[in-house]
């Protein structure tokens, strides 16, 4: 039975239709896997078994029909910064302990409409700040391939859940690489759509101009299906774009003939692990073999992306996170004698070190007298980076390169060195600054750890990068490998409660 937990959504849909299994069986299998593995991995912060089973029962009869909604009966994990009605949403932070959102995020509404079954809320770095999921106030998630290593971040929980069969699909959020980097570390497909492609309504904001919700899956087809379900303009999000959503999954192709791929020169510079470099170069050769014309391309301002990002993202975060002050909801310090003490103690107690670091950085960057030197300058860099990409896309259909400089690092290895941690996002951040879509697809292993290939597309060119990733995936077998299972479950997660 447990093999059900390892199947893709596509396979499950076929089995449902043939009457070989049912949503109830699949959800049971997924919870069995969670019981067996999550004590070790800690992918979830909150589970709702009863609601998931009740939902599954509702779809049992429907899924055999021709007109069953696209994700009917498919178990999905949500990163804990996506609001779900009446259940906890903590963003991995102590300051939101006890908070239950009174509403569903737009993506959640769309998932429910598509028949998806929400398994629970998955762990993440506090307010999506970090690169390893070690910054969660509720303890780190571990990499299913090697439990001494991080799953990446900040969507470490949902990504580990998908890799380990604790969910079939997941939604994460990507502000500077937070879907693609953990996808690469955990050997699954992770995609950041174009900014504006997916509604952010109900995604707890970290950096509003960079955040984007995206799919995490075990195959490109699955990622395409999930993106199709959540994409499209939303009247509740002014920054969501009025651009038609194609039937991504139906449009996938397996040949790259006629496709022009640009190999980003700056992504193969100093700091790139030799093993990762080799795997990515080999993947590019595979693309060439599939008919793609591959040529080097330069993004001259890419090296300024990280510094610009670490001005813009903290600046927006310092403002977005100001609302967590103990007045309306979440943590409030005990017996503050006055208002200022209430604010400062609540925030001191509620936020972790990385969040405080970025709030201070952002506050400083926006302060009168520093605004021009930092924030405005970073915006100008952002424009240059966008122009670099525009120029590249005049010659190429998509750009390729590594997702991360290294494979998954060890837990604790970089916690005390924020700058080292930040470098983990050096190849992913430029896309967020430019608002472009990118996907990570498994392209090899180094020392038993997965490596990802990043494919970057034009704005709203998701179909193209899905095509490249799909063709590559179908030509290789990396996506079929599954991480080792825990020798023995160390304590079931049945008792997992809302933090």
């Amino acid at each position: 039975m447990s093999a059900l937990a390892d199947l893709t959504a596509c396979d499950l849909r076929a089995k449902f239709r043939r009457g070989e299994t049912s949503p109830t069986e699949v959800v049971r299998a997924v919870f069995e896997r969670i019981d067996a593995e999550d004590g070790r991995l800690h992918a979830y912060l909150y589970l709702d078994r009863d609601a998931a089973l009740a939902e599954a029962a509702r779809w049992d009869a429907v899924v055999r029909g021709e007109d069953a909604p696209p994700l009917a009966g498919i178990p999905v994990a949500l990163k804990d910064n996506i609001c779900t009605r009446h259940s906890p949403t903590t963003c991995g932070s102590r300051i939101l302990a006890g908070f239950r959102s009174p509403y569903d995020a737009t993506v959640v509404t769309r998932l429910r409409r598509s028949g998806a079954i929400i398994v629970g809320k998955a762990n993440c770095d506090e307010f999506a700040m970090g690169s390893s999921t070690e910054n969660s106030a509720y303890g780190p998630t571990r990499n299913p391939w090697d439990e001494t290593r991080v799953p990446g971040g900040t969507s470490g929980g949902p990504t580990a859940a998908v890799a380990a069969g604790e969910a079939t699909l997941a939604l994460g959020s990507d502000t500077g690489g937070s879907i693609r980097q953990p996808a690469a570390f955990c050997g699954v497909v992770g995609m950041k759509p174009t900014y504006g492609r997916v509604s952010r309504y109900g995604l707890v904001a970290f950096a509003s101009s960079l955040d984007q919700i995206g799919p995490i899956a075990r195959s490109v087809v699955d990622a395409a299906l999930l993106l199709e379900a959540i994409a499209g303009q939303d009247p509740a999000d002014s920054t969501s774009a009025d651009v038609e959503v194609p039937a991504y999954a139906d449009g996938l192709i397996t040949s790259l003939r006629g496709m022009r791929l640009g190999i980003v020169k700056e992504f193969f510079a100093e700091g790139l692990d030799a093993g990762v470099a080799a795997a990515v170069r080999e993947a590019i050769e595979t693309c060439r073999a599939l008919g793609a014309a591959c040529e080097e391309v330069s993004l001259p301002h890419a090296s300024y992306a990280l510094p610009a990002y670490y001005i813009i993202a903290p600046a927006e975060a310092s403002s977005n996170l100001a609302r967590y002050a103990g007045v309306q909801y979440g943590h409030r310090t005990a017996d503050a004698p006055d208002l200022v003490t209430l604010y400062s103690r609540t925030r001191r107690e509620g936020f972790g070190a990385e969040v405080k670091r970025r709030i201070m950085l952002g506050t400083y960057a926006l302060s009168a007298g520093y605004y021009e030197a930092f924030y405005l300058r970073a915006l100008r860099v952002r424009t240059r980076i966008r122009q670099d990409f525009d120029a590249a896309f005049e010659r190429f259909d998509a750009l390729v390169g590594p997702v991360t400089p290294t494979s998954a690092f060890r837990l604790g290895e970089k916690v005390d060195d924020p700058l080292q941690m930040y470098l983990s996002d050096v190849y992913t951040v430029p896309l967020n600054l430019a608002g472009l879509p990118g996907i990570s697809v498994p392209c090899g292993f180094v020392g038993g750890l997965p490596v990802g290939l990043q494919v970057v597309g034009r704005a709203f060119g998701e179909q193209t990068i899905l095509n490249v990733a799909h063709a590559f995936e179908q030509a290789t077998e990396f996506h079929t490998r599954r991480p080792p299972r825990g020798r023995a479950a160390r304590g079931a997660s049945a008792a997992k409660r809302a933090p």
Binding site: I82, S101, Y201, T239, Y343, L366
Partner: protein
């Protein structure tokens, strides 16, 4: 325009920031209803409460009203404007930032560079409008029994801010400007303009400078919530600064609050460190693009503004400039006038009653005409009674008094009080006969040519009829019976 008091050597410079609550059905960035006086926290949603994950969506209707105002003030409407976040902590501000459109760096507000003309009898003041921008309101703190409670109903209520250049030179000019601005906003149907509900709020900057000299240090005065308090607060502050300067002291740049009860301005106690609001472009809203067709559509639908209506009143109804000015001081008064004239087509008479008895009553009561129960058709009814001789002018004043208080129609009051004018000639002739018999002295005087004695006799008839006799008819009958026509 500058008024320089030579004896005092200083010139007053005033700039105003007027916050206007826009007449929209829903809030600035969400669909919640804008409602005054609803039970606390019943008009809120995730967006106006700033809950995690919520996002603002701009109310297009509020932009329409902003454009209307900008057009009425002759401003340049910026084709692209940007919302900003103004960051500061306060419990009535759920996100701890306010979404506003401050003119900041290279991001312009909705509209800038307008002009308002205000005629003050013999001359015309010209007040520059620096900008018109949109923003959201905050909630309200309620302090009770040593605790502080927050009502978020007002959060996200659409506000427009009209900021003038420092072109005003006396507290009186400031008050006049506000009266005209309010009328304009009411005529443009941008706001109800009711001060007591906080739909118009005003802050002012005031400084003194040597005549023609460089600008002096200014103070910002807040918490003025009526036209009268604006004038009084500015008068107090003007005198306070003048005294300081005359004593050789320096004026401190600070924020001062107006204490309505004690009639003084006082310095805010909190330290006046320049607050750093860390403005930056609101990333949750795309830049506001206003194209020419949008502006044209608003322009085409722009209602008649006070200036135009005043001119029309003079030309179409033949009433004096001065009267027309008073009748167009508020939209409600102008509407009331026109409604009444539609039913009783003697504009000058309607105007006389409105700017006379009715205005006196409003002033004494400190109310606006739309707050009274009096209706235009009822006033027309009253004037009709006078015009057709069914009611004497004196009785009419008495009837109006009750109409203003109760809103009842004139004829009902007249009936009830038995005030119908007696124009029955036979009946009045009998009363005149009685009076002539009872007052031989004055009768003799009349016959001897003393005409004032006629007035006395008429008065006696009026007295006998308790004021209900038609005075013109009585006058004629007295003369006829005494043969002195």
């Amino acid at each position: 325009m500058a008024r320089v008091d030579a004896g005092l050597r200083h010139e007053t410079v005033i700039g105003l920031e007027v916050h206007v609550q826009l007449s929209t059905a829903s809030k600035m960035f969400c669909g919640c209803a804008v409602a005054f006086g609803a039970p606390p926290n019943t008009r809120t949603c995730p967006v106006c409460l700033g809950l995690p994950g919520s996002l603002p969506v701009l109310n297009r209707r509020a932009v329409d009203l902003g454009i209307r105002t900008a057009l009425a003030l002759g401003c340049h409407i910026n084709p692209v404007s940007q919302f900003h976040r103004k960051n500061y902590y306060y419990p009535d501000l759920p996100k701890n930032y306010q979404i506003s459109q401050y003119e900041y760096k290279d991001h312009p507000p909705l509209a800038s560079g307008g002009l308002m003309r205000v005629s003050t009898g013999d001359e015309v003041m010209e007040i520059g409008i620096r900008r018109v921008h949109l923003e959201e309101d905050t909630g309200k703190l309620v302090h009770a029994e040593g605790r502080s409670l927050v009502d978020y109903n007002r959060c996200g209520t659409p506000l427009m801010e009209v900021v003038t250049e420092p072109d005003l030179h006396s507290p009186e000019e400031a008050r006049l400007f506000l009266i005209h601005l309010r009328a304009m906003l009411q005529f443009a149907e941008v706001t109800s303009g009711r001060l007591e509900e906080g739909t118009l709020r005003c802050d002012a900057n005031l400084s003194l400078r040597p005549a023609g000299g460089p600008h002096g240090t200014r103070t910002e005065i807040k918490n003025m919530n009526s036209l009268r308090s604006v004038e009084r607060a500015l008068r107090f502050e003007e005198a306070r600064q003048r005294q300081a300067l005359e004593r050789g002291e320096e004026v401190v740049q600070e924020t001062r609050h107006w204490d309505e009860d004690r009639e003084v301005t006082f310095s805010s106690r909190e330290k006046e460190e320049a607050q750093d609001y860390r403005y930056f472009p609101e990333p949750d809203l795309t830049p506001l693009q206003i194209d020419a067709p949008w502006v044209d559509r608003i322009r085409a639908g722009l209602p008649e503004l006070p200036e135009a209506r005043r001119r029309r009143f003079v030309e179409a109804f033949g009433i004096p400039e001065h009267d027309a000015g008073l009748l167009t001081a508020t939209r409600a008064m102008a509407e009331f006038f026109e409604e009444t004239v539609r039913r009783f087509v003697k504009p000058k008479i309607v105007s006389n009653w409105l700017i006379g008895d009715v205005a006196a009553y409003l002033n004494a009561a400190g109310r606006e005409i739309e707050e009274l129960p009096l209706r235009p058709d009822h006033l027309a009814g009253l004037l009709m009674l006078v015009d057709t001789g069914k009611l004497s002018g004196r009785s009419a004043k008495e009837v109006l008094e009750e109409m203003l208080r109760t809103g009842r129609p004139a004829d009902a009051i007249v009936q009830e009080r038995g005030l119908v004018q007696i124009s029955d000639e036979a009946m009045l002739a009998a009363v005149v006969q009685e009076v002539i018999v009872e007052h031989p002295g004055p009768v003799g005087d009349v016959r001897a040519g003393k005409d004032q004695a006629v007035t006395f006799l008429v008065g006696q008839v009026m007295k006998k009829t308790r004021g209900r006799a038609n005075p013109a008819m009585v006058n004629r009958l007295v003369r006829e019976q005494l043969g002195v026509a």
